[in-house]
């Protein structure tokens, strides 16, 4: 009895050793594991892109053979999307959502543990294909048949890796929704939720709706190859184009699965450093929901060139254009939040403003490609490579990095090195533009994607792009150093950390206790975010 009382009193009790991580049901520890895993995969995928840029540094074939180059391109994408971006987003959600809504933990802590520990196994499956007969997947991350079916022994490993990743992210999504729907502190109404929580609810619904469709698609590939079905085999009455429809029905919502958490992060950062509440909170919620809803009706803009009827091309063109409206609402709301705010430019704010600028560049080139007639020129050129890297790298990754800088003092209790943080921002921003901006030019000039060699007319720009690529890759080592330095010590952070920070997470100590909000806080208009 007395022991139990003692146990309760000892608030910061945590398990020790490797068991703390293996069997963890604590949202903070699982969040940390997700983030560390994402960082490792970010460097694994980054190393692959360095191979790509080294090969493209000069025309001709230098370092790798074309098959290996193609697997670099393919696995780089799979690792970055499923290994770095999605786990980083889930990691932030795990860490922040319970302490933002005043919950003691996630609703289903054991499932939380499982959904994380599936990831290392899934990536072991995927990366083991490099050592197999026939090599790693090389037909592009989109896995279009019939090309992907020509993959050797690695093919079932690819399919099962995708299944596992899907199961993991669906479990993570279910957990987030179950948490937010059932475990909000008294007074934390839906319209008082921090916007990061809102973007994650919507992302979670997208995950639950889209990931199973991909799982179905790759299962059809599997049965086509091994069990004699003919879903995508023209000789058996199937159609390879149908896979593209199934894939992009998942693939387009997936784009928003990646970007919405980043939108959520910068919706927390910008008001904090503008010292003003978020402008148009309600419209932000509705805009995010509309983006998510519309994302299910635009998938065929990824495949304008397959030979659709004119009516179809027009429908998907207009539907695509319409997504620019809610996205514009968000961009203008962020700008209005900054308007006449007393702004300061700490590292998280710099990254958030970087997102605003450079995501818009990617958004505009996306609009260009949404216009059917001109898409025929851009399709499968470096222009599309420039477009999606602009939305992913300075759009999503910058958002996540901004979030890391923003919450790192809260997580560790120490301030990070502001000088190094700013240096990291400027090095990343300059190099990312050197890396991706010229891709627009060579794309418009006709350089195709996914080819290890190119015509000599593209040599100069590729040279510059590769230099930008190496610089960007090296700059990210700085992030690792800043994080390590911050974990090891530094100026102590206050509970509020940032002068303009509002919300439940900032009422906890820095670092927060291992078990927080065991008695739910009371939320009023005064203590809510908005």
């Amino acid at each position: 009895m007395s022991e139990a009382v003692l146990h309760d009193d000892h608030h910061d009790h945590k398990p020790t050793g490797i068991g703390r991580w293996l069997f963890s049901t604590n949202h903070k520890d699982i969040g940390t594991m997700y983030l560390v895993f994402a960082l490792i995969m970010f460097f694994v995928g980054g190393a692959m892109s360095m191979v790509i840029r080294a090969e493209l540094f000069q025309p001709g074939l230098q370092y790798v053979d074309p098959q290996f180059y193609n697997s670099m391109v393919t696995v780089h994408a799979l690792v970055m999307i499923f290994g770095a971006l999605m786990p980083a987003g889930v990691g932030l959600a795990n860490w922040m959502i319970p302490i933002m809504i005043g919950a003691p933990d996630m609703a289903l802590p054991r499932m939380n543990n499982m959904s994380f520990w599936i990831l290392p196994f899934a990536f072991t499956l995927l990366l083991s294909t490099f050592f197999m007969q026939g090599g790693a997947p090389a037909g592009g991350w989109t896995m279009y048949p019939p090309l992907v079916l020509q993959l050797g022994d690695g093919f079932p490993y690819l399919v099962f890796a995708v299944h596992f990743l899907g199961i993991s992210s669906i479990m993570g999504a279910i957990n987030i929704i179950a948490t937010v729907f059932n475990m909000r502190a008294p007074g934390m109404t839906f319209m008082r939720l921090p916007l990061f929580v809102w973007t994650w609810i919507i992302t979670a619904f997208l995950l639950i709706a889209a990931m199973p469709v991909l799982a179905g698609g790759v299962t059809m590939l599997l049965t086509d190859k091994y069990f004699g079905t003919a879903f995508f085999d023209a000789a058996g009455g199937g159609d390879p184009v149908m896979f593209q429809h199934i894939f992009w029905f998942f693939g387009h919502p997936e784009v928003y699965i990646l970007v919405l958490p980043s939108f959520g992060v910068i919706s927390q950062i910008i008001p904090t450093f503008s010292r003003k509440p978020l402008f148009g909170y309600t419209s932000m919620v509705y805009a995010t929901a509309s983006i998510a809803f519309l994302s299910f009706f635009v998938w065929a803009h990824h495949m304008f060139t397959v030979g659709m009827p004119l009516a179809g091309e027009l429908f998907f063109m207009y539907a695509t254009m319409s997504i620019a409206v809610p996205t514009g609402v968000k961009i203008f709301n962020w700008m209005a939040t900054m308007w006449r705010g007393s702004m300061t430019f700490e590292t998280p704010m710099l990254f958030a403003i970087g997102v605003l600028f450079m995501f818009s560049i990617g958004g505009f080139s996306g609009l260009m490609m949404g216009i059917t007639p001109v898409d025929f020129q851009y399709h499968d050129t470096y222009f599309i490579v420039a477009h999606f890297h602009y939305v992913i790298v300075p759009g999503i990754i910058f958002g996540i990095i901004g979030g890391i800088y923003f919450w790192l003092p809260k997580w560790t209790g120490n301030m990070y090195d502001e000088k190094l943080g700013k240096l990291h921002f400027w090095l990343s921003t300059i190099s990312v533009n050197v890396l991706f901006f010229p891709m627009h030019f060579i794309g418009l000039a006709g350089m195709p994607r996914r080819i290890p060699d190119y015509s000599v007319q593209f040599a100069d720009w590729n040279n510059i792009i590769s230099i930008g690529g190496f610089a960007f890759g090296l700059s990210q080592l700085l992030l690792v150093w800043v994080v390590i330095k911050c974990v090891r010590g530094g100026e102590k952070a206050t509970d509020q950390v940032w002068e303009g920070a509002h919300g439940l997470e900032w009422t906890l100590s820095s670092p927060p206790p291992f078990h927080s909000f065991t008695t739910p806080p009371k939320v009023t208009d005064a203590t809510a975010h908005s």
Partner: protein, 191 residues
């Protein structure tokens, strides 16, 4: 509270399972869309008795061109006896194709038809075709194959030329073709 969370999770899990099913549902939806709209140039099949009900349009002639392709996995040669022919809408026409097995083995092939422009495929129906079934050729065997078809007399005036394209694929024993003709037949049988 724990119980409520489990309830929410179960409901969401059901949605995920339903969406997995929806992925598979996209296959029949896609095929029906293609048949209704003529996307993909999928052609139809009708019986001879149905053809007799068609009015023959004596006022105009439509050019039908023939295009032949062989998938690289199939060691056959395949060509049309005549490159093109002129037909009256509503009338049964006949075209001849010649296929040869260039290998030393028995090989089974399956031809997949497609009609361009897409709009025309809605009015293009076959009464008899070598593409309805698998074709098995002995080593070195040459075979003449026939297709009987009718272009609907309700074909829009602006279409004066259409192309009937065939691609021969290798068909394996466990990959017996369930072609669109079978499906069309089923749809017709069901009313």
């Amino acid at each position: 509270m724990k119980n409520k969370a489990t309830q929410t999770a179960k409901k969401l899990g059901l949605i995920a399972i339903a969406m997995f099913g929806f992925g598979y549902l996209m296959v029949p939806i896609y095929n029906i869309m293609c048949e209704v709209t003529g996307i993909n140039g999928k052609t139809g099949q009708i019986s001879k008795s149905e053809v007799r009900l068609e009015d023959v349009d004596l006022d105009r002639l439509v050019t039908v061109e023939f295009d032949t392709n062989v998938n690289p996995n199939l060691p056959w040669s395949f060509k049309a006896a005549k490159f093109k022919q002129q037909v009256r809408p509503g009338e049964i026409a006949e075209a001849l194709f010649i296929v040869k097995n260039e290998s030393d083995n028995f090989v089974v092939g399956q031809a997949i038809p497609s009609v361009a422009p897409e709009l025309a495929s809605l009015f293009f129906n076959k009464t008899e075709c070598f593409c309805f079934v698998n074709q098995k050729l002995a080593p070195g065997e040459t075979k003449e194959m026939v297709v009987r078809y009718v272009v609907g007399s309700d074909l829009p005036e602006k279409i004066t030329t259409m192309t009937l394209s065939y691609t021969f694929f290798k068909a394996s024993e466990d990959n017996v073709a369930i072609t669109k003709q079978d499906r069309t037949k089923k749809i017709k049988e069901n009313g």
